[in-house]
Amino acid sequence: MDVILGITTANEVIVITSRAFVRGVSILKADDKDKTRILSPHTMMAFTGESGDTVQFAEFIQANIQLHEMRNAVELSPSAITSFLRNQLATSLRSRKPYNVNVLVAGYDEAKGKPELNWVDYLSAKVSVPYAAHGYAAYYTLSLLDRWHRTDLTLEEGLKVAEMCVAELKKRLPIDFKGVDIKVVDKDGIRTEKVIE
Amino acid sequence: MYAEHFSEPATSHVASAPIEHQFYPYASNGGTILAIAGADYALLAGDTRHITGYSINTRFRPSIHTLENLGGPERAIVVAANGFSADGDALVRRLAQRAEWYTYNHNKPLSVSACARLVQTMLYGKRTFPYYVHTIVAGLDESGRGEVYSFDPVGSYEREQCRAGGSAASLLMPFLDNQVNKKNQYDAATGLPQVATDLPLEETLKLVKDAFSSVTERHIHVGDYLEIKIVTKEGVKVEYFPLKRD
């Protein structure tokens, strides 16, 4: 029941992740900031799935992207990073023990001057989207986003929509997800914009 | 010597595990039906092929039934129940009986809408052991307009302009949406969606024959002959149209 949500605005991507770390029926940690990894100065990933697989896979991608950037002294675009990530996940899918990880890749493409959000599921189906969610959160938030999202949203408007989504999730999800971290990716990089307890 | 006496013969039926026999009370007999309502007619059509598995039991088993009614030939109701034909036959026979009793009890014709409600109660009456059929009822209302009612196996029903049922319903239905209800068609001059209007009988007949000829090409359950029953104020007219036999 992890909440993973991404919303693009005119100039940035907003990434929302829940703060509860859940195993079985227990919440093991109420201020988890571990559902995201920074892959490059302008690209981050948020993930859910089988615990163990998630962090292992995310850090594997992170390490490889960082290695590539050190070797070649270039920053990869968000779409290039997502392609690499998908390729690794797709290869793993037909292996003996596939990674069970769902991913959102949020980034700011400096060359195009545009924010970008990619949705990738554990089967490695990949699609570029204006807004996306994984798991149960999708059922509650996508309809709100269908109604309120615009491609020309300002950051303030985007955050307002984000808060609407979080309010809806608080109301409808049967277990407390202990609030969310809201992160923003824009031309200046990645930052934590706000925490909703 | 004793060993020989007590040893089992090679063809023994004593099995190590019990053999299970199960009776499955349903079968599928293929075929497809189609109904369209017009301003002054209602039409119910179906192919006459009857199958089990890949075998053709018969090429000619008409499956559109006519319920005679009080109030003259124009009040006749046509009905077809496609799917498991034994259940379909049982349903239609019982429906015919109930419709006849209705006219005796009330001394008035059974309207198509009342017939539809009756079909619902009969289907839902067997909610726990359903008639395995897709049922369509068609006829004319009091003012002479065509009406079509379609049912799921447990009696959920709706009045519609047109409906396909049976094996090839999924092939027929989008074609009907497009050609009868004008779905996805726009007026070239205004750019507005085209509205569905009542089709003349001649055009509907052409449409039905074309639709079945097409479906016969792509679905192995459909073929041999097409039986069309048309209810107008003159009564019920039956037409047969040859379909491919392969």
């Binding site: 949705w119 089967l123 699609v127 059922y139 | 989008p174 996805n184 097409s214």
Partner: protein, 205 residues
């Protein structure tokens, strides 16, 4: 519903006309009943040949990249464009390579042979058996509905504009009767010296 070929949904169709071919697809990507995207085209172009890939989205993407690689290698080796017939055999052998652990797709190929000018379409099953059709081929979760539409709307020797109308009506009305497909349409009309790409605005439910 855990059937791999009907998790993501999709509709594809190709038709032959008079000196032209058309290929079309829907735009939906879903996870079971949930629509994730309405911007997921399933047609890919390699030289002057087109392939529609419907089925498991991950295999759609993987195969589109495999074919891009293989066609690029063909171009370098042969120093010429690949013809539709050749590409169809490449698709077939690529799929059969994975005979016992297949890609869950039902591809269709469409194009015009640049030498002969003859329109060419064909379809495949998931392990590469080619269906050489003279009229039309369909694929995806909407295949039944598409068969019904195509068999009744299609006629021989349609001109490009009439072929566009025919394939579009076939696609739209078919996908409206399938909950797993829809959310827009994409149509390519291919003639010997021109390719026209059109987006269809359709209902989103």
């Amino acid at each position: 519903m855990s059937d791999p070929s009907s998790i993501n949904g999709g509709a594809i169709v190709a038709m032959v006309g008079k000196d032209c071919v058309a290929i079309a697809c829907d735009m939906r990507l879903g996870m079971q009943a949930l629509t994730v995207s309405n911007d997921f085209p399933k047609i890919y172009q390699y030289n002057n040949t087109f392939i529609g890939l419907a089925g498991l989205a991950t295999d759609v993407l993987t195969l589109s990249e495999v074919f891009r690689y293989k066609v690029n290698m063909y171009n370098l080796r042969e120093e010429r464009d690949i013809e539709p017939e050749t590409f169809a055999n490449l698709v077939s052998s690529t799929l059969y390579e994975k005979r016992f652990g297949p890609y869950f797709v039902g591809p269709i190929v469409a194009g015009i042979n640049s030498k002969t000018g003859k329109p060419y379409i064909c379809g495949f099953d998931l392990i590469g058996c080619i269906n050489f059709a003279k009229d039309f081929v369909v694929g995806g979760t909407t295949s039944h509905q598409l068969f019904g539409m195509c068999e009744s709307l299609w006629e021989p020797d349609l001109e490009p504009e009439d072929l566009f109308e025919t394939i579009s009506q076939a696609l739209m009305n078919a996908q409206d009767r399938d909950a797993m497909s829809g959310a827009g349409g994409l149509v390519y009309i291919i003639t010997k010296d021109k390719i026209v790409k059109r987006l269809l605005k359709t209902r989103q439910d």
